[in-house]
Symmetry: D2
Subunit: 407 residues, 4 copies
């Protein structure tokens, strides 16, 4: 990325975080609705802390922190940096105020700008790019976290004025077949990627087929109405325990008002749109739905293969896959694990990804909350199987193993 582009991009990304917070009051930015979610103010500060800690602290001549306590307050999980404020208590941080956090952002931006003009190294450019990618990840979290916060408020406030109703038309549900193949999986080194997308390596995938679009609200409603949440035969054992203890009976933001299903969102409570992709499901729900229709979730290699869309001896295949990006993240059946040959970076920055590679499931694609240009074919998002407050939906797959082997 050219030097001019980086500066421009930097201003755009940093500015967008402020824009996301713009319609919110200082009170809205303060609250934490559950331990998994964070206050908006914390997101604004933590993304700034990332630049201050991983760039200014090591590269700025005569570095002095904006506030010595921030090193601990806004450290998310980096043990290499030292102490951390307990995650579940981020909502008690009335001080620093939102105004002070905004001043913190300005200060770090100014110092980083100065540093950049003095030392335009590739190393610095790479660190800045990592910080921007990190901030974009938090931009999606800002939206999912504020959505969760507002959903906890009995007033069910709308953050934005309700839009004109969109007319979503779910295209007909069809299957796209893929032949068995030895694939190259992972990032090819062209442009930015996170460490967990590397190294590019080979995986063999047996023949399968994949749904050309995501499962819709209407289809998922049929599962509910058929008693899907009452039938243990459809559920993973841990999923059944989870739904029994949570008394889960529908996607996170659905509400039944009389005979009418509604869905809460940033536009407030609205009539459920049956044609939109179903969203805010746990892995358990996604897997149970798949079981109900006689399908399964795709592995991440299958997903990446399908999304590659082309190439090699499979060139003749027509690829009709829709909704890969920009609607909902898609649960895969793949537990989040290191690619063969993966090595985490040295130092605290190495805690970014690798240490979470247990008991989480990979999501592929991107959602309508993902910043533009942040998504990528090889991007590996990951959450625990019970997580529902992210933009998580279902793409179905089915094995064609027997057919394939006899061919």
């Amino acid at each position: 990325m050219s030097e001019i582009n980086l500066l421009e991009r930097w201003q755009q990304v940093r500015q967008r975080s402020l824009a996301l917070a713009e319609p919110l009051s200082a009170e809205d930015c303060m609250a934490q609705s559950m331990p998994d979610a964070s206050p908006i103010k914390w997101h604004l500060a933590h993304t700034t802390w990332f630049f201050e800690t991983f760039i200014l602290e090591s590269l700025e001549p005569a570095f002095r922190p904006f506030h010595p306590a921030f090193r601990v307050l806004f450290n998310s999980y980096y043990n290499g940096i030292g102490e951390k404020h307990p995650r579940a208590q981020r909502g008690a941080l009335t001080r620093p105020s939102l105004a002070q956090v905004l001043a913190y952002r300005q200060d770090v931006d100014a110092r980083l700008s100065k540093l950049w003009h003095e030392e335009k190294s590739a190393q610095l450019a790479n660190l800045i790019e990592l910080g921007l990618q990190h901030e974009q990840q938090h931009q999606e979290l800002m939206l999912t976290d504020v959505k969760h916060l507002l959903s906890c408020n009995p007033l069910l406030p709308a953050l934005f004025v309700s839009p004109l109703p969109e007319l979503h038309w779910a295209s007909p549900f069809t299957w796209q077949p893929f032949q068995a193949a030895l694939l190259e999986i992972g990032h090819n080194g062209d442009g930015f990627c996170f460490d967990n997308e590397t190294p590019r390596h080979r995986q063999f995938v047996e023949a399968f087929e994949m749904a050309t679009r995501l499962v819709s609200n209407g289809e998922y409603l049929a599962f509910i109405e058929a008693g899907g949440y009452q039938n243990p035969a459809l559920w993973l054992a841990e999923g059944w325990d989870w739904l029994s203890s949570q008394k889960t009976r529908h996607p996170l933001y659905w509400q039944l008002h009389g005979p009418q299903w509604q869905e809460f969102g940033l536009y407030g409570l609205q009539e459920l749109d049956l044609h939109k992709p179903v969203c805010h499901l746990s892995y358990f729900e996604a897997a149970a739905y798949a079981q109900w229709v006689g399908a399964r979730l795709p592995s991440e290699a299958e997903w990446e293969y399908a999304a590659q869309g082309v190439t090699h001896n499979r060139a003749q295949q027509k690829n009709d896959l829709q909704q890969l990006f920009d609607h909902c993240w898609q649960w895969t059946s793949s537990s989040y694990a290191a690619y063969p040959g993966y090595e985490a970076p040295v130092g605290a920055i190495g805690e970014y990804n690798g240490k979470f590679m247990v008991n989480q499931y990979v999501l592929r694609g991107s959602s309508s909350f993902t910043p533009t240009h942040h998504a990528r074919l090889t991007y590996r998002n990951f959450f625990p199987a019970s997580a529902r407050w992210q933009m998580t939906g279902i793409r179905l797959a089915r094995s064609l193993l027997n057919t394939a082997r006899t061919m």
Copy 2:
């Protein structure tokens, strides 16, 4: 109370709540640091809800609520009123905003003023007085809750500019004896009281003596340094379990910085004043300290007897008791229970006191956080034995039973 006085008092009390919130930001007013504590904004709204629900709703012609959802949002625990917002989630209520809550206060004040001018009944005056007493109770909670909130912030912010150091001089510790007597206990009907102070009735108290002042920080520090928190023989069994699981080693707001004890308060972190009464102790700690010095906590009848100070056949007794009021509430050994003949009022207002009469201990006196003129000889405050965020201290007592009986 005369009609003019009631109006004046009303304005003073309502105004004081606003004054307490004045140095706080909207963010400070939003946060809830633990389920036992409430946001300041919630206190401001709930005290207003009390007037709206228990007065306007039944007496205002053509009553319409300020906001229909507030009936649930700001109901604390009155089952008779209907649903309640879960206590532990008060810190997620970013809406209504602080500004809206202040508007709510103004609206209810205006309507109540109008109602009062139209109908100056004794019943209305009584209800208003109850509402004001209720608001004064919450004023103390506002201070204890914001103190707790700020103490959870690693910045340890001072709410007020630090005062000049007060010079507290603990007077010499002495015992004041009291002869066995048949007493009249409870409110005598002169002026306002809560239902739990009635009916006035007789209790017999065996001879005892009572400390003339509260236990000081310095005295309590000696208990700590003597290993008081490590010696199970001093503790109630439940208290020992409590301190073992909490890892409690000192009063709530004490901190050891190197060799120097400091105490957090609304003026920030300050050097521990050894001459001030020790404060923010659980019942368990108070009882363990008493055990350590070979004393015990007074019963509430003993406390009230001692505080009556005089009278009848005991007139000759000199009474040197100090610090009965305005420093710290004083744990008594009395479980909170109904006086003989007690009857709770009919309706939801009857939930004010009676239903809490189990597994709580009575505190007598008042604290430096108690509004002026809110304290009373017969006032019965009560908290669970593990509560520490209130202004709770120790007054010691000792039995003189054997001496008394042989006299």
Copy 3:
């Protein structure tokens, strides 16, 4: 008690524990159904440990423990003795076997017998008597704990062959009035008592009346059928939280089979006897029932006064109280607390009673599980408000304060 009587009594009490275990298998004696309950084998060992630790260890020449590990394994809660095996894990002690525990009993009995013949001191007699009283307390627990254990078994096994149906006739429900009086309360020093019954002291009791018998199953059933468990207005706040989380809807051992209520007991599952006193209720349930019928629970002073039955200026009162003993322990409204002038014994034996004087409620009388001659007018049993596996029932009281004062 004469020396011969003590020996005889000793053999009787020790023998009775064995008799209680007699119908149980080694497996039955092993299991622990909840942390509050203990295995029968543990009771048999712990009561023996009490003699070994508090008598043999200090008085036996050349004392050597039966097994060094037993000092820890069978210590219930005496911090003064040292470590304790965790209460909740008593059910994992498959070793020592029941046979080894029985050998332990024989060994300690033999050594104690030898000691007694060598040193017939009053101190030793007192310690033996305390050990026997202690064992009798555990005999009641053996029955309540095995009842609970068997109730957890889906086979609902009967420990004893079902008896011929008893015909219980609840006598008519009447109130017995008592005038206000200054009483002597506590043990008068004649015969054995526990430390918590002392010192005898004066209490004043306002006029009240007390039910002449316990509340029956039939009466309690009416409370259930009237929706008592669904009406928060009847419940203490903590009781309502308790029943909501426990989903309690009836006494502990009741079961609804079709339209017919049944009750589990040592004779297995039997049709509910409507005329028997209702049993296995928490304090919360007892208080809610009392609230429903416009009454309350008696204080322990009222109970002791009523049970004294006579004397002084109240001689003319006829006293018709029934079921004071031998049916169900009766919850009082009195939190378990020290009598004025109470002093716990020095040393580990002082942990017997005093350290439990918080957040428990006193029960008076005795139950059908209490050993003969173990009950006493001044006996103070105590359990937490939520306890239900003990033999706990309801005697009602009502204040006559206003009437009394105007007379």
Copy 4:
């Protein structure tokens, strides 16, 4: 398997369960030391229930259950069968007695024998074989569960007389390289296998090398002494949380006595043998150790590839792998998941494996507790990452990806 062989094998397997219980008392067989473990009596009954429920109930003419309640009592997790007794309460089942359970075993064995002689179908043979494999799995659990139970007893009883000390010599630690290859993974259909080992399918494995033996106690001790349990950089984030809350500092059954490490086992407490493979580790500990030595855990495909040991274009490779079987199960980095094309059997028997395919990790090989001939190259054992009471150890692997790709 021939008909005669099946009968013989049946008697051997069923007899071995009894032999395992033989040195245990009825008390030992009753207790449950934690929810994950089960009483031996329960294992004896449940394995019998499996035959009764899945064979006799559908195939026996005029089927009548041995005891109607056993269908619920001894159902482990089959929702398709109906209700289940709660897992955590298996230790309260003093009835049925051990003697009754042994009678249950005899009865089912006799009925099954009769059925087999009347109907020697392949379907019946397959079901019997499944029941025997199931019972062999429980035989390993019987040993791990009783080991855990005895370890919870402060007496640390030895189940068996201590053997003569074995002299374990850990062979030198070396790496065995494997070239990248497209493999056939899964069961080839020859003999019994569980459904989760099918279908056989292709996986591509990049080049790697694998340790020729397991990590020894001595090597693991070096990790401990180097502060491995204090260094978060070595741990998965969830593993660090786990060890922090559990305060884990060493393998499950290690104890430090003065300067000497000892290990508890079925022979009691013994000096730690530094040359034996380290055992009873969680996945977290295995992964942290691997991180410390700059290696990682193998994937299950890598393990199976290495264990295949031979074939195809890799024929020239010498394979020195030791301790694949009979010492400790070996954690793999592979989350337990369905093979492509996997289909669970229809009906309740389909709950055997598939529903556990989330948040568990595959273990390969077998242990010294595994019944002879029960292990298999393609066998997939699985446990949650925190499980430690199974016989779980470490085999290391390392990627050779970069080397391999450039070759």
